[in-house]
């Protein structure tokens, strides 16, 4: 059982080893030791989680999403992720389709089309499980028999009805549910915001269907651009009332309905995306 070895390998070493090989100070060693003493207690909760098919994947595990670790760097990656479902999905090529909770029909159709193309191409669709674009991305991936990751804005134990809704897909290995929060944490705005970088981090490619000039998508994309991520934004029609063009101007790549880059529309900060 690799679960066991993960706990063990990170915690069983004498103090001297810690000082010499890991260059830890006494405070750090003490923290680690007290963390160790809590393992026994947490084992009871952990066993109950494992018995129900939940898994805890620490960052040092080979099962941890490499995409996530590369995108967020070790320092900003969550120390553990909680999952239920086919974890093989975490090592596939992936795209995220993001956008507002109240999106226009054209944005939803775009989302459907991108999810279809991704599924055809065996790419996993990462969904934040919010209303609007997120939900459409997930539903479309399922419709086109693709695979998806549901990234929860809450602890994984509080997703009860969702597990029932996506039961078939989870059993068939097409959906994995993932959370980075304490298993019993209920939904909150704060967690929803904290989840956004995880969605971006889990995806090799990021598509924006529709963004307003504030809110989660807006700040998420700006954050992504700042971190030098390539972000594809649906090129809006002239009459659309959203901030897609603004994001393109900030450096995101404009794409057409099929996700192809529209040449000559790269925004002003084009040097940012050319690396």
């Amino acid at each position: 059982m690799n679960k066991k070895s993960v706990w063990k390998s990170s915690f069983s070493f004498p103090k001297e080893t810690g000082r010499i090989f890991f260059l830890m100070n006494d405070k750090e060693i003490e923290d680690l030791t007290s963390a160790k003493s809590e393992i026994a207690n947490n084992s009871f909760l952990a066993e109950s989680l494992f018995n129900q098919g939940y898994e805890v994947i620490p960052i040092i595990s080979p099962e941890y999403s490499k995409t996530l670790k590369e995108n967020l760097k070790t320092q900003y990656s969550p120390a553990v992720i909680y999952i239920k479902g086919n974890k093989q999905i975490l090592s596939e090529k992936s795209i995220a389709i993001v956008g507002s909770r109240s999106a226009s029909d054209i944005s939803l159709e775009f989302t459907d089309n991108i999810a279809r193309l991704a599924s055809l191409d065996y790419k996993v669709v990462v969904s934040g499980f919010a209303k609007g674009i997120d939900k459409q991305a997930l539903d479309s991936a399922i419709k086109y028999k693709g695979q998806s990751i549901i990234v929860l804005p809450q602890g994984i134990l509080t997703f009860g009805t969702g597990f029932k809704t996506y039961y078939r897909q989870i059993v068939d290995g097409d959906v994995i549910v993932l959370s980075t929060f304490f298993p019993k944490a209920p939904w909150s705005t704060g967690l929803a915001m904290a989840r956004n970088p995880i969605i971006y981090g889990l995806a090799n490619e990021i598509y924006v269907a529709e963004s307003s000039d504030s809110g989660g998508t807006w700040s998420g994309v700006k954050d992504g651009l700042r971190k030098n991520r390539i972000i594809y934004v649906r090129k809006p029609d002239a009459n659309e009332n959203n901030a897609n063009q603004l994001l393109i101007d900030l450096g995101a790549k404009a794409v057409d309905f099929a996700g192809n880059i529209i040449q000559g529309t790269i925004g002003e900060n084009k040097e940012l995306t050319l690396f």
Partner: protein, 672 residues
Amino acid sequence: MTREEAEILLRNRFGIDRFYDEQWDVIQLLLKGERVLLIEKTGYGKSLCFQFPSVILPGITVVFSPLIALMRDQVNKLKSLGVSAECINSNQTTGENLSVIERAKSGAIKILYIAPERQDNSDWTEAARTLKISLIVVDEAHCISVWGHDFRPSFRRIINLVKLLPKGLPVIATTATATTRVENDVASQIGGGITIIRGRLLRENLRLYVVKVRNEDEKMIWLGKYLLNNEGSGIIYTGTRVNTEIYSKWFEYLKIPSTSYSAGLDAATRVETEKGLKENRWKCIISTNALGMGIDKPDIRFIIHTQIPQSPIHYYQEIGRAGRDGLPADIILFYNPEDKSLPVSFIEGGRPSARKYEQVMAAIRHEPLGEKDLMRKTNLKQTPVRVIKSDLMEQGIIREALYGRSKKFEYIPGAPKLDTSVFEQLRALKTSELDKMIDYVETRESRMKFLCRFLGDSTNTEYSNCDNTGLEKIRITEDPVLLKKLEDFRGDYFPLLDVESAKSKIVNGVASSFYGVSNVGNAIHRSKYENGGEFPDFLLIQTLRAFRKRFGQEKFDIIICVPPTISGDLVRNFAVKLSGTLKIPISHELVKCRKTAEQKIFENSCLKTDNVRDAFSYNNPENIRGKKILLIDDVFDSGATIKEIGRYLTNLGAANIAPLVIAKTIGGDLHD
């Protein structure tokens, strides 16, 4: 801490002078934070190996134990020594359990006993996060292994838990009965560089005998004589519940104080029975093997099996309770070659067909289902569903998860195919173990040595504690006085039909005989299935005697007979004769309003109940109101038909329904 210091503490806290060497070895290992598997015979003092360290260690000791009776015993004992011990189990109220959890959190409890199933409970797993745990104990650790004699799926949860525990947290697993195979299995599952300590299994004070008999009468007569002439109290194990009833009635007839004990008893009665045994209220308890492992009475003077156990492990386990005070105890096994058929039928009939497994898997693949949902979806009954789900969980095909507040089975993504070869292997193992048990009967060498060797202890010792090694063999001799008594008993003993319930006006009835133990069954069979004509008159005479014994003082308004499925007018004509003799008018107005299948083709009482539900109607229902009814049938099996008619007539306003049948079947339910 040196051994001397420890033994001073031992005297002060436990009132015991010194440790055995092995006990001290175990304690030292645990104090060093290691894992230990301890295999020692019953009565050795295994508990001290974890109770002692638990009073030294700073935090709490959590003991997983499968037996509530045993938990209760140990907690009481520890409390009397001033050690704060408690248990959490399903016999206590949620409030009681929660208050124990609170006290454990505050550090007020040193030793906490819990059932492994408790891992399902979120109050407990949540609380465990805040406990300061110093030591984990897995009691009756053979329950971890499918190769053991008492595998329990919930023990698998403990293994998963132990695997998550950090190195350096001591774990001790204990058992009195593990073959080498089970020992290796348990040790490798617990892992973590576990040290195995195995003691000698020899019990010198047990005096082992095997008595070969030709029939049940010889057992009953010999037992009667033995109980009338020997000091001390003990346990008699029978293979079936029916036999616990027959034996206890026989002893009652001989005025020997005794009581029967089986899995059918409710918790309160069980506690009362265990208590009575300890207080020597009875000469003996007659039990199926439900008595479990939890009776802690030091002076059990005899353990007698009237039916051969399934394996030498079962046998060693069951006789282990005798003579814990070190004084001699008689261990007697009766053997009639016919007895083998009972354990054989149990081994052969153990598992549902592969098709039923597929059905269950398909249903769970489709949606998460609870046990009841599953029964509805698959049209299978509780017993097979439970066997199947336990096997599927064991094979990693399904698991149990919480959906909201309710537990449901779900399919595991990427689950392996069902492997039925495991069932074959287990069946083969059980068959070979039963053969070994027969070898025990036939062996000419030391019986103790035989058992010890089977259980992995091959130490060479001179044994002198059995009828092959010095003790005089027990031989059956004729005893005309007791034989006469037994005949009188048989003539006067009429099996009870236990059908009473709060909602029904039906009362416990009576049968003239058991189906299988006399010529009654044969006579019925000839008439019913071999065109043997009417039920012969001796059945009428026998049934009238049963009636007079149980219902002689009562007045009945009407006789009603159970409408037949296939046997035509046999019961009807029989009831007419009874009616003529008893001068009670008969009614033929109870009829079947739909076709039913023969009850005997169904394997369990759920199915039987379903088969007859709402199957009867009475032509002039107004004639039933306020009437006292004598209800007649030929064979009483599960009682489902009688109970259903009782329910129906109760609804029509009957004042009293008393069942009277010719024979009651003896169920082949080895373990119930």
